[in-house]
Each structure stands twice: as structure tokens, then as C-alpha cells.
Subunit: 301 residues, 2 copies
């Protein structure tokens, strides 16, 4: 049965009704399959982002590995703050400190090498509290929803954090092809070393895929206004409003983490990606709020 991990209620009905309307041939709100685009944030929407986004755990492990080879790195303030998990200091360092860390841990290697490193990390890295592999911290109701949308002719996209980090597991975890993953990116430089041309990840930001950058990246990569958007934070609000701004039937969904028992309960106070404006204005903007506690029968597999 479709969406079996969803409880009956307003959220599930909104999804099922919406899909039926746009997929009904000859109906007033019919949309051809080519235009059925659904976009999903990843962190906190498709998988768990607490106590920190998964990519930050990866960043910490990469930094440890690099610092073991080159102890001088530990003297750099951003590295020290990260290795000591002093996130207050890290946030104080601001974007510059974060970029320094990403440049050191995510760049200076080829795309192919990064893929090997991140896949090998995903194979064994475990969530500190949930006691399962990070790649198994995906939400079962969302994996079902992605499949349900594809069964109804939708193309499903991720629009979220680090693009190549997500590409290393999205196909396996969500059935989302690499080319349907849009995210933050470092610049790539084409290089020929020996006989083998490759793409080098350069330590320079190309796109930081959050807030207003999300709809802009949708325009660049997809070139179609989505029919459906699903997010969980203020960083997804522009993408949801862009989606709702199109003509005809549109659906925007906002996951509210209100389930301390089965996952985590948080919104405004999560500094790395807070949910505040989007929650306050959901009704005004026609956004459907999904309660993890009430709308999901199960959370994880």
C-alpha cells in the first residue's frame, strides 16, 4: 500500500489529493509528466540532522584524519575548534572558518577521490545516539513518498547541502540519481595529470545552497518551477514560496520535528538551521505542516 508509514490525517490527504489532481488525465489541474518536478531538502527533511548535520560528522572525521598526518593543522583556530567540538567558537569564526575547514577537508582532491572517501566513510560511520549507520538515518515515510511520487510520474530532486557528499549515498538511500542531486558546491577545475583527465575540487565556494540560493539553483539546474517542495527549516522557505508561486496546483510541505521520543524535538533554537519564520507564516503562505509525531506511523526503518 502506498504511504503506509503515514498516518491518515490532513498531511497525508493533502499529498494524495494533490498527486491525484495533477496526474489525472483530462482533469482541470492535469500536468504532463515532463513538468512534474518535486524538490526535497535533505538534512532534517529526508534524514536526521541532529545533534549536527551528517556532513559535519564527516568533516570532523576528515579533519582528524588529516591532522593525524599533519599535526600543524591542529594549531589553526578553526581546526582546533572543530576537533575540540567547540561549536560556539566555530560559529564565532563565521563563514570564513567554515570555508577554511571545507577547503582543507573537501578540496584539493579529485571528484573521483572524494567519491571513494565519502563512500568508505558511509560504509561504517554511525550516528552517535541512534546507534545505526548514518545512511540508515533516513525517514521511512519520506522514502515511501519519493517512491510514490515517482510512481505517479514525478521527477524527484534533492536541493540541499554538499552536492558530492549527498551523491555518494542518495541513489542507494532514496533512489535519487546523482544528476537529480543539487547542492552546495566547490568550484571544479578540469586538469590533465599524466594520461588521466579529471575534475579537481578547488577550495573555493561555487554555491552555498541555502535560502534564496535554492530557487536560483533550481532555475539553473532544472529550469522548471517545481510542483511540490518539502523542507523543514527557514532555509527552505524561498524554495517553498517559489514553488507555490507557480500557476495551477502546487504543494509545499514543512516537516516539524516534534517527536522527542522517536527522533528529536526542535525548531527555533537549532542555530545551524532553525525553523521559525516558516512555521509562523505557514498558514499565510499555504504551506502544509507535517507533524513527525502525529503524521508518521514510524520514523526509521
Amino acid at each position: 500500500m502506498a504511504l503506509e508509514s503515514w498516518n491518515d490525517g490532513a498531511a497525508k490527504s493533502a499529498i494524495v489529493d494533490f498527486v491525484a489532481r495533477v496526474a489525472k488525465q483530462g482533469g482541470a489541474e492535469y500536468v504532463p509528466p515532463a513538468e512534474r518536478v518535486a524538490v526535497f531538502d535533505n538534512d532534517g527533511t529526508l534524514w536526521c540532522e541532529q545533534p549536527l548535520q551528517v556532513q559535519i560528522f564527516f568533516l570532523i572525521d576528515r579533519a582528524k584524519e588529516l591532522a593525524a598526518k599533519d599535526p600543524a593543522l591542529k594549531e589553526r583556530p578553526a581546526f582546533r575548534a572543530l576537533l575540540e567540538k567547540n561549536f560556539g567558537a566555530l560559529l564565532d569564526n563565521g563563514k570564513r572558518g567554515a570555508m577554511e575547514l571545507f577547503a582543507a577537508t573537501h578540496a584539493g582532491i579529485s571528484e573521483d577521490e572524494f567519491e571513494v572517501i565519502s563512500r568508505s566513510w558511509f560504509a561504517s560511520a554511525k550516528h552517535p545516539k541512534l546507534g545505526r549507520l548514518f545512511k540508515q538515518c533516513t525517514y521511512r515515510p519520506q522514502v515511501e513518498l519519493l517512491g510514490y511520487l515517482r510512481d505517479n510520474g514525478f521527477k524527484t530532486y534533492i536541493v540541499s547541502g554538499g552536492v558530492d557528499f549527498m551523491r555518494a549515498f542518495a541513489e542507494e538511500a532514496y533512489g535519487i540519481a546523482r544528476e537529480h542531486v543539487i547542492g552546495s558546491s566547490m568550484k571544479l577545475r578540469f586538469e590533465i595529470k599524466g594520461e588521466r583527465p579529471h575534475l579537481l575540487k578547488v577550495g573555493e565556494l561555487d554555491s552555498f545552497d541555502d535560502r534564496e540560493a535554492k530557487p536560483a539553483n533550481i532555475g539553473l539546474h532544472i529550469g522548471r518551477r517545481p510542483l511540490l517542495a518539502f523542507g523543514n527549516s527557514d532555509g527552505d522557505l524561498a524554495m517553498m514560496r517559489y514553488t507555490k508561486g507557480g500557476a495551477g496546483a502546487r504543494l509545499a510541505l514543512l516537516l516539524h520535528h516534534d517527536d522527542a521520543e522517536r527522533e528529536f524535538a526542535y525548531d527555533r533554537e537549532f542555530k545551524l538551521s532553525s525553523l521559525s519564520d516558516a512555521l509562523d507564516k505557514a498558514a499565510e503562505y499555504g504551506i502544509t505542516v507535517v507533524s513527525m509525531k502525529h503524521d508518521w506511523r514510524v520514523v526509521f526503518d
Copy 2:
């Protein structure tokens, strides 16, 4: 019959053999459909780019239209050179002059507005020598090849000039979906005007999709190394070498315009996009040269 506009010969055999090898389940060179990516340059590869690339004709018509409303534009050197078709002066103005023209004619409007303007232009704009609509200046053997690849499980992409200009006709002309069009782009800014959020095209270059930028954009948008690349100029060489640099079977094809009778004959001397290095080094790099004159039974529909 597949590829019926292609004459029998080395080029056609190379294509048919290659496709059979990667698509043969259980074969030594089998590649799963998810990874079967083919990338095509557009100008001069999928459609005619003589005497000038189609987008330059569009640029001229847009500039005329804008200058009619605002005569002061005619006093700006880049505009004057363009309107007088003084391409020598235009090229002397260099990238800065070109960017000024693109910013004035392609930006300051929303993506939706640009789509309407370019579609309406395509509906009636005619090639000055071929006496047919620009959108009918596509090469029939290439349209067949795109279909043949898709029938064999390939995803076909364009990696070429202005992304939103190409998106306005690629689906109709080639069966290539908007999200499979990668190209040069202006930055997009998310804006909410009144109730309707949209993407504004800003007069600032995001990516100039030529030479080394082509493989970099393939990495960003697709995240897979292509199996097949087809180009016609030195601007496509990096993309072809990136393609050939992957493990397993790969095919790179280079269209040589040697057919003055049915189309145009040119290579090294075409300043806007010359073919020189790629031709000289085709054999060394394992690139298959396609002769328009000998390998194509017909050129246009």
C-alpha cells in the same frame, strides 16, 4: 531503421559498435543504464552555427527592439557595433563588450519573461541563407542519433551556449528535456514582487560554458563522467578528453564541416569557435572524426 540518415562507414560503425558493447547485458563492457550519459555540444554539432551562432541573431534582434524603445542605447559602442554588424569592432571590444550586450538584452527580466521572448522569437526567426526557421536548422542525422541513444538507455544532454535560450527549443527540436540542458548562464536572483515570487536574470555572468568549463559543468550538473561526447570545435576538446579519460568503453566524436554544398565548409578560420587543435590531435586522443560530406546521407529535414 536506426540512423538511416547516416551513410555506412567508419563513423556509423563506431557508434553502432560502441552502443552495442555498453548495452549488452553480461558483456565485458556493459554499463548500467543509470550511467549511460551522452553529452552533445549544440552550436555546429546539433544545428547550424553559420554565418553566426543562432543566439547572436537573437541578440541582434533583441538589441534592435530595445534600441527602438531607448535610442540612447545606440550610442554605446558595443550596441553600435552590433547593430551595424561590425563584428570586427565587437570582437575588439572583447569579453567586456559582449557581456554588456548580454546583460542588456538577456537580463533584467525574469526567467519566465525570457522564456516567452525567446519562444516568440523562435516561432518566426529565419536563417538568412538557408531560408528556413532557425529551429529547423537542426541536423537530421543528429536528431536520429539522439533518439537512437535514448532507445538504448542513454540519457542525452546538451552542454553548450546560453542555457535558457536553448531550453526554449531543445525539447521540441531534440526531445531533450529542459533539465538536460547545461550551458552558459547569468546569475539568477530570487525575488518576490507583489504576490508572485520569480527568478530575475541578473546581468552578471555565472558560467561561460566553453572549453575547461564544459567538463566542470558536467561534474556540477550530472556528477557522472559521460560515456559519449560529440562536439565540433576546440571548445569541445576538454569535454571529449574528460569523456575518453574514464575507464571502460568511451566514444568521442567530432563533426567536421566539410560540406559547402549542403551546409558550410569551415574549421580553423571561424574565429567565433574555431576547430584546429581538436582536428590535429583527433587521432592521438582517439577521437572519431565525422565528415558531414561523407558520413551524412542528408543534412537537414
